[in-house]
Symmetry: C2
Subunit: 353 residues, 2 copies
C-alpha cells in the first residue's frame, strides 16, 4: 500500500491515487500526524479521511517504529515510551492506550498496537524482553480498544521477536489469544539481510489464522512482493516506490532505470514500454531525465505515479494469478525475471539497498 | 498564461492544465531550455509540444530578458549578447538570428525577437540606445524568420523604451513596419511603480493594430489584469500565481490568504469558497496549511492549481464581460473590489511586491 506519512502520498493527489492507481488503501504515520498537525486538529476537522480527502481505507502504524528510530531522543518504560519531537524537542509519551486514542481520533480503518521494535542485530535476551513487552502492550491496547470498539475499526497486534524463529513463534501464539481482526509482522527491514526477513515471515505466517489479513510492515523490493505472498502474506507497505521515485530510481518490468544517467539524454522511449501508467503513456525518459536534473517537482509527481503503478500492478498480477489458480507458475516466472535483472544490473540493484 | 519555464508548469501535469484549468497557451523560457536540455535535444525529440506532452499553444520568450537579468555575466555587442550560463559558467552568444533558430527548434507557436531590456530606472539616452538596438535586432530577426516562415509560427517584435512615452511611441511606429502577426510590450515589471507600467501600456497599445494580439510581458497582479485589458491588452504572462502559490500566498475572490498563518490552523473552509477548482472543492485551509508547514510537494501542486485557476477565471470573466458588452461595468466592480481588498490587507499586499 502507498505510504502517505504526513496525510499525503507525496506529490500524488487523491483523485490520481484512485483514477490512475486504483489504490484501495494507504498508510498514514501516527507519530508524524500526532506531532503535526495533531490528532485533535484532525479529529475536529472530521478525521483523517476527510482531512486529506481520501474516501478509501487508511491504515495507521502506532508510531512505535518511528519513536524507536529516534534513538537518543527516547526512553522506554513499562508504561510506554517517552520521546522528544524531532520537530521542536517537545517531550511526549506514547502508551499502548494513548496510541489507540490517537488512531481513533484519526479515524483510521486499521490501527496498530504500540510495539517495541529493536534494531538488527539484537541479542536473544533483549529480543525476548522486547517481545514480552510488546505482548503486554498489545493486551493493554486491546483492553482499551474494546471499550471504544464500534465495529468500524480493526486493531492489529504486531508480532516481534527479532530474527529468532522461537521468539516469533512464541509471540504469535500469545498474540493469537487476542482474536484480532488481522495480524501484523513487525521488526523487519531494520537492517537485516533480506533473506532473513523472508525467513521470519515464513515461520510466523503459518501460525496466523487463514481468514484474517496478514500484514508485513515495511517491505519490500518489487521482486520480494511475490515471495511474501507465496508465504501467505496479504498486505505490505513500503516507502521504496515513492522515495526511490523522488530520488530518480524507477522500477520497470525490465529492471531499474536510474534516470539521471546520460544514456537517457535523448531516449524517446517511455520509462517502461510495458507500463500503461500516465507517465509512461505520455512522457519519454529524456523528458523525465530533464525534469530530474532541473529539480522540477513535476518529476517527483510523474516518477511517483509510475513507481506506485508498478507496485500496484505487481499486486494486481499476483491476485489475478491466485484467482486463476496458477500462482506457482507466476512465482516461477517472477523469480526467473528477478534473477535475470540481478545478473544484468547488480550495481544498480545495490544502490537500492 | 501559465509559465512553464523549464518545459513544465511546476507541479502541474499537462492533463490538469487542460482538464482543471483549460489553459489555452503556456509560456516556455528559451534561455532555460537552450541551456538544459538544449534545443537540439528537444528538436530531436519532436519539439517542445511533444517533449512536454502539451497539445495546445506555446509561446517562448527570446531569452533576452533572462540574459539581461544575469548582469555581470553578460556583454552586449551589436551582433548580440554574450553571456555565461548560470548553470556551469559556459559562454554562449544569443543573436537575433540564433534565438529565432532556437525557438524554431523548440517549435513554439509564438516566438519573440531578441530585445535589449533595461533595468529601472534608466536614463533617456541609454533607453533610446537600447530601443534603437532592439529595433535593429527585430529587423534582423524578421529577415531571418522570413527565410524559414512556414506560416505555422508567429514572431512578435517587442516594444521597448523604458518608462519614456516618446520612446515607446517611436519604437512602436518603427516596429509596425515589420507587419508582425502580433506585438509584445516588454521592459515592464523591472522594478518601476506599477502605475508606470500601466501608463507605458496605455501609450503603446493604441498605436498597435487592433486585429493583432497585443501581449504585455511579465504582468501582473490579479487586480491588474482588468486594467491591462481595459487598455487593449490581449495577452499577459506572469510567474506570480505559480511562484506565490509555492510560497504559500493564495489569491482569492476575497483577497489574499497567507496559508501559514495560525488563524487557518483549524479552518475547515476552502481557500476560496467561491472557487470551483479541485483544491477548493476538496481541501480545507487547515489541510493546506498543514501540507505547507510539513514541506509537502502536494502543497505546491494544490496551491498552484488554485492560483492558476483564479487567474484564468479572471480572464474568463473578462472575456465574458466583453462578449456581453458590459466590460465598463465589470471594470468598475473589479476596481471597487480591489480598493476594498487593499484597505483590508495593506500589509499582505506589500508582501507580494
Amino acid at each position: 500500500m502507498p505510504v502517505g506519512t504526513q496525510a499525503t502520498v507525496k506529490g500524488i493527489l487523491p483523485r490520481d491515487l484512485i483514477n490512475d492507481l486504483d489504490a484501495k488503501i494507504i498508510l498514514g504515520n501516527t507519530y508524524h500526524l500526532f506531532l503535526r498537525p495533531g490528532h485533535e486538529t484532525i479529529r475536529k476537522l472530521g478525521g483523517l479521511h476527510r482531512f486529506m480527502n481520501w474516501p478509501r481505507a487508511i491504515l495507521t502504524d502506532s508510531g512505535g517504529f518511528q519513536v524507536f528510530s529516534l534513538n537518543s531522543l527516547r526512553k522506554v518504560t513499562e508504561a510506554g515510551v517517552l520521546f522528544q519531537s524531532h520537530l521542536n524537542g517537545d517531550a511526549h509519551m506514547f502508551t499502548p492506550e494513548s496510541t489507540v486514542e490517537v488512531q481513533l481520533a484519526l479515524g483510521s480503518d486499521i490501527m496498530m498496537v504500540l510495539d517495541e521494535c529493536l534494531e538488527y542485530p539484537a541479542k536473544h535476551d533483549a529480543a525476548r524482553a522486547a517481545m514480552d513487552r510488546t505482548i503486554r502492550w498489545a493486551r493493554a491496547a486491546f483492553e482499551h480498544f474494546h471499550k471504544h470498539d464500534d465495529g468500524l475499526h480493526a486493531l492489529f497486534p504486531i508480532v516481534q521477536g527479532s530474527m529468532y524463529a522461537d521468539l516469533r513463534k512464541a509471540c504469535t501464539e500469545q498474540l493469537m489469544e487476542l482474536d484480532a481482526r488481522g495480524y501484523a509482522i513487525g521488526g523487519l527491514s531494520v537492517g537485516e539481510p533480506r533473506g532473513l526477513s523472508l525467513e521470519m515471515a515464513e515461520v510466523t505466517v503459518p501460525l496466523l489464522p487463514k481468514d484474517r489479513p496478514r500484514y508485513v510492515m515495511g517491505v519490500g523490493m518489487p521482486e520480494e512482493l511475490p515471495e511474501y505472498v507465496a508465504r501467505g502474506v496479504d498486505m505490505m507497505d513500503c516507502v521504496l516506490p515513492s522515495r526511490n521515485a523522488r530520488n530518480g530510481y524507477l522500477f520497470t518490468s525490465q529492471g531499474r532505470v536510474i534516470i539521471k544517467q546520460a544514456q537517457y539524454k535523448d531516449d524517446a522511449r517511455p520509462v517502461d514500454e510495458a507500463c500503461p501508467c500516465y507517465s509512461c503513456k505520455n512522457f519519454s525518459r529524456a523528458y523525465l531525465r530533464h525534469l530530474y536534473l532541473a529539480g522540477e517537482i513535476t518529476f517527483s509527481v510523474l516518477a511517483t505515479l509510475h513507481n506506485l503503478h508498478h507496485y500496484l500492478d505487481i499486486m494486481r498480477g499476483i491476485r489475478q494469478a491466485i484467482l486463476l489458480g496458477n500462482y506457482p507458475d507466476y512465482l516461477r516466472r517472477a523469480r526467473q525475471r528477478a534473477a535475470e535483472a540481478e545478473k544484468e544490473a547488480p550495481k544498480a540493484a545495490s544502490q537500492f539497498e
